[in-house]
Amino acid sequence: MSNVPTELKYTKSHEWVRTETDGSITVGITDHAQELLGDMVFIELPETEANYTAGDECAVVESVKAASDVYSPITGEVIAINEELADAPETVNEDAFDTGWMFKMQPEDAGEIDELMSAEAYAELIAEEEH
């Protein structure tokens, strides 16, 4: 059973979102997602200052097996990316919810974050997928 931290918000497409004290958000893919994808070998991150609408493809994670899109969980601007992942994509396998974060965004409307899935709802979603 995958780990689903209760303090985070989630999307159906397996991104996690953490709200920071300054109102920005940090985004990554869930432990469940990294487990399905397998060993990461390349991660293509968005450019900083790029603007995305919720649901836009904004990054790509490539495991040995396949390439998979990562979607912007909300509408806003990318303000930072995790440069460490360029040389150590396996960090996403090892620590998906912390050092394996992918990018930070400044949301256009903070209200959008509240509409994301709770940990409980996400845990239900992956339980359904597994059966």
């Binding site: 397998g38 070998v41 390349f42 293509e44 790509v60 040995v64 390439a67």
Partner: protein, 375 residues
């Protein structure tokens, strides 16, 4: 992830896969292990030590009868007359009249009237239909050839620099007859307890064995190998290992519309002796005279990214396509096999998600016997 279809077949080693916590997937109608935790670790395990693959889904055919040699000389693009030594193996394509590849296979000579052939699981039905049609084709009428599918057998491939030593340790006197085998030879190893057909062949670019054995002996043999330190390896690592070794995968690097001459398999077509009639000969002879339009090459990506099948390759001499691509764990870079215009050399661009990335055109294999062949 979609659940495995309930109709999928299971090999005699299904319980062993579950016990080793395999992630099971549907492959050609079989429930097979894709990995047992980490595909990368499994890949390195085979390059550096020893790993084993359940390949019981592959199809074993015994071809017997006084006309078996003549029949196979007509059926296959390579010439079984080259292997008239007991146990000797030959890689060949099975061609259609257009010179397209129906399947690739290994055939073992056991005796003049007895051969064993191993073909792909995904092509089982069409291979059997085609082969049986050829036995019955009008100008072969009355020939004494029998094709028997051995679905009573399982198959385990043990591969890696320590694979043979560990197999000897695990199976002891049972495989004495295999110890002195040269590469690409097989031997029957029978005693009161077991009945193993052991071949020094494989699909990884490493030394090792492929062991064909009765289904009911598969789990005990697997457990003995496991106890000797041979780790289970999934189909995921099997694919990256064969790609690094520059070995074609049927359905990906060649198919019925591609000739062996455009798939880097010229060496497997025996044009001599000139009086041997084989299926596809006329088409290949024509293609050889005209010069094939395309060739299969290796690519190493110089930019960051991962090469994948069907990405477009742009060369000075026209466009091509990647047929197999992945990340190479041994090189630490992305590699691919690609079909490109015959004149293309040295450099090309690969289109990945709308961007053109630089790649080097190379001669494969990329890695063999534990080592990268490139810097």
């Amino acid at each position: 992830m979609s659940p495995s279809p309930s109709l999928a077949q299971r090999t005699p080693l299904y319980a062993q896969h579950l016990a080793a916590e395999a992630k099971m997937v549907d492959f050609a109608g079989w429930e097979m292990p894709i990995h047992y935790g980490s595909q990368l670790e499994e890949h390195h395990q085979v390059r550096n030590d020893a790993g084993m693959f359940d390949v019981s889904h592959m199809v074993v055919l015994d071809i017997t009868g006084s006309d078996a040699t003549d029949f196979l000389r007509y059926l296959l693009a390579n010439d079984v007359a080259r292997i008239q030594t007991p146990g000797k193996a030959l890689y060949s394509c099975l061609l259609n009249e257009r010179g397209g590849v129906i399947d690739d296979l290994i055939v073992y000579f056991m005796a003049e009237d007895k051969y064993r052939m191993v073909v792909n699981a995904a092509t089982r039905d069409k291979d059997l239909t085609w082969i049986r049609q050829q036995v019955l084709s009008p100008h072969k009428k009355g020939r004494n050839v029998k094709i028997r599918e051995r679905d009573d057998l399982a198959m385990i491939a043990v591969q890696g620099p320590n694979a043979r030593d560990k197999t000897h340790a695990a199976l002891g006197a049972n495989i004495n007859a295999a110890r002195e085998l040269k590469p690409f030879f097989a031997a029957d190893c029978n005693d009161s307890k077991s009945d193993l057909f052991v071949a020094r062949t494989g699909y990884t670019g490493e030394d090792g064995y492929e062991i064909i054995l009765p289904a009911e002996q598969a789990s005990a043999t697997w457990e003995a190998l496991l106890a000797a330190g041979v780790k289970p390896i999934g189909l995921g690592a099997r694919d990256t290992l064969r790609l690094e070794a520059g070995m074609n995968l049927y359905g990906q690097d060649m198919d019925e519309d591609v000739s062996p001459l455009e798939a880097g398999l010229n060496w497997t077509v025996a044009f001599t002796p000139e009086d041997r009639d084989f299926i596809g000969r006329a088409a290949l002879t024509q293609q050889k005279t005209d010069g094939p339009a395309n060739k299969l090459v290796g690519l190493i990506l110089e930019d960051r990214g991962v090469l994948r099948a069907h990405q477009k390759v742009i060369t000075e001499h026209g466009e091509g396509e990647i047929t197999s691509g992945s990340f190479s764990p041994t090189l630490g870079k992305s590699i691919a096999l690609a079909r490109v215009p015959t004149a293309a050399t040295e450099h090309c661009q690969v289109e990945i998600r709308g961007k053109q990335l630089a790649a080097r055109i190379v001669k494969y294999p990329f890695a063999r016997n534990g080592k990268s062949l490139f810097d």
